[in-house]
């Protein structure tokens, strides 16, 4: 259960989930991180290089592939995605370098 750490300066961080369910429940409240990989949550199995609208979301303004830390894509899908982007570039659906 949430024991306040000694060294922690009070009030630096808002208290984590102590409001409604704090007392009686007995069930531990985990701080669950939101699952953000688009392909996992929307259950997209095949990342299609021809689908420019979907794949195009993951490239930056200048045509670079966006890193995982910005998009939240999981590693498996990031690998498949980069493959798809490179294919799309090859067939001129996406730019290698945009807006130059």
């Amino acid at each position: 259960m949430p024991v306040p750490r000694e060294g922690a300066p009070a009030g630096e961080r808002p208290p984590r989930r102590e409001g409604p369910g704090g007392g009686g429940g007995g069930r531990k409240q985990y701080f669950r991180r939101r699952k953000v990989c688009k392909f996992c949550t929307e259950k997209i199995d095949v990342i299609d290089y021809k689908d420019v609208r979907m794949v195009g979301e993951f490239i930056a303004e200048r045509g670079k592939i966006l890193p995982r830390r910005l998009t939240g894509t999981c590693s498996t899908h990031q690998r498949a995605l980069s493959e798809a982007i490179k294919r799309a570039r090859n067939i001129a659906l996406l730019p290698f370098a945009a807006g130059a």
Binding site: D45, A92, L93, A98
Partner: protein
């Protein structure tokens, strides 16, 4: 036999019936090289992301083909010698489809697991009952 997706871009200044002629020609190429055309899709005229052979637009044609390596070889050779085709790409879909299959199986498994441990979602349904009792 493997599944392939072959996509190629025809110059935009080629007439539609000539594109159609090229498609039927390529279909016969696949057939003669021991392959089978599953589906042909004309993706239509699109703006290219960059200039190819001084063209800014192109007519995309997509072939779904079942065949061997020789089929692909012959198909690509024909595209290369065809002047109206400015770009082409062949993708072997087997690995991709296999992986998709795996994902699907994995998800089904997880779903089954979640269903087995369903008692957990039941408690949240309990609170409304006391509330109704309180109203009565």
């Amino acid at each position: 036999m493997r599944n392939y997706e072959m996509i190629f871009i025809v110059r935009p200044d080629v007439a539609d019936d000539e594109v159609q002629k090229l498609i039927t020609q390529m279909e016969s190429v696949v057939a003669s090289a021991g392959g089978k055309v599953e589906k042909v899709e004309k993706m239509g005229r699109r703006r290219l992301a960059y200039r190819v052979h001084k063209q800014r637009e192109g007519f995309y044609v997509l072939f779904y083909v079942q065949g061997t390596g020789d089929t692909v070889k012959e198909f690509e050779r024909r595209l290369k010698v065809t002047d109206t085709v400015i770009k082409h790409l062949t993708v072997c879909m087997d690995d991709i489809l296999q992986r998709a299959e795996k994902f699907k199986a994995l998800r089904a498994k997880q779903e089954a697991k979640r269903r087995r441990s369903k008692p957990a979602p039941a408690p949240p349904a309990a609170p409304p009952v006391p509330a109704e009792n309180a109203q009565v």
